[in-house]
Symmetry: C2
Subunit: 240 residues, 2 copies
């Protein structure tokens, strides 16, 4: 049996122009797209980005990848998605899985790939890196993400205030993802221990309705977009 | 006076196809490129990447940005570079600074931007994010950089063995840049405390002569490319 090739393609943070030339070429050559969805009735943001960048009608296969905590059930969804992909690739047709940002950084793609490699290790895989939201945010802020000998930590979701307090002492640059609901906690830490620190919040980076807040203290008590990112840096260490 | 616009453009890790559509469009529209060089007689890797992706003759301005430790002298070089840029933009011509990887992640671009904003805060700046070597490496390894609730730290150059030992206990995913000369130190830590950890080394990622080593222990005692990157992760947490 000759399998089709499986591509994992990062489509970037939202702006269709942040697709790479390689992603564009492969998507133009591929007839079949695998589209992850947290709910099947939802419109895919990744597909909308790709559709704005490339004028083409693909055959799309929706893959249900719900945002749930039940690990066993999640594994089952990933396995079913991997089986659906195998079924298509087994016909010798290439297919591309599209994902927001970068396929290797907090994407369901890596879970799916694990399942696929277990089920069919002989399938040829190519991953095309994408611009992650983290890099897009620092470009929007016109601030370094990290420079020189500085270190950098990326945290997908903060657990507790004590942890953050420790990290602000240990790291020069901190990226806190999904920080929209934690702004009060973050401000408390900065007030307490962050005399030499400054923080910015960015929501919906890469989209037209991006919002940037250079003064996080003005945001305390507000209900913010869950998918907001906060970047904490040394004071005076930015390019503003 | 009407200034030209200043672009900071990430050209990605080496493969010309990893330029973004936006970088390509802006570079096609811009006549003037600012090219950072550690030594003026050296060929610029960023310029070679751009030249492979886009068929065009630009007017180039070399900016000397030597790799030295003397902070005062470095500042002077960045200031001179900023002044050279201002001189060109003051004629109303747009210009683009090109840099390997992403302009906000360990790039001389952010130092230069700081100087430029001090000297001429009225200049309009646009930063175009690029694929960083870190994302390209994980795509090459077909491994997640980080997934789920895992954190990720990026360390530009390791200081001492004790620090690394602590970091391997505290964090899920560690990216050690410029690790080529430190492989013995890294292996010692992994042997000592990293029973549940695995490490890969990648050199020259994004170029045709990329080399990937899944067994870092086989590399002890070897003289490796200074610009190698080591990624340390939990065992079994990858997609291999």
């Amino acid at each position: 049996m000759s399998w089709g090739k499986f591509y994992g393609i990062g489509v970037g943070p939202g702006d269709p122009e942040l697709l790479t030339l390689k992603a564009k070429r492969i998507l133009e050559q591929t007839e079949l797209l695998f589209v992850p969805k947290s709910r099947l009735e939802k419109r895919s943001v990744a597909l909308s980005i790709v559709g704005q960048a490339i004028d083409k009608q693909w055959r799309t296969v929706d893959l249900l990848m719900p945002m749930i905590d039940d690990e066993k059930l999640l594994n089952q969804h990933w396995r079913e998605a991997a089986q659906a992909i195998m079924q298509h690739l087994s016909k010798g047709i290439d297919g591309a899985f599209i994902t927001l940002g970068d396929p290797t950084l907090y994407s369901t793609f890596t879970y799916l790939l694990k399942q696929l490699k277990e089920l069919a290790p002989e399938i040829k895989v190519e991953i095309v890196p994408g611009i992650s939201a983290v890099n897009a945010i620092s470009a929007t802020l016109q601030q370094p993400l990290a420079e020189g000998e500085e270190n950098l930590i990326i945290i997908p979701a903060l657990q507790d205030q004590e942890t953050l307090a420790g990290l602000t002492e240990q790291f020069d640059n901190i990226v806190l993802m999904k920080a929209g609901r934690q702004i009060d906690k973050i401000c408390a830490v900065l007030e307490d221990r962050g005399q030499d620190k400054q923080a910015c919040l960015v929501s919906r980076c890469g989209f037209e309705d991006v919002s940037v807040h250079h003064d996080v203290f003005a945001l305390t008590g507000q209900k913010l977009d869950y998918l907001s990112t906060v970047i904490i840096k040394k004071k005076g260490g930015d390019s503003q």
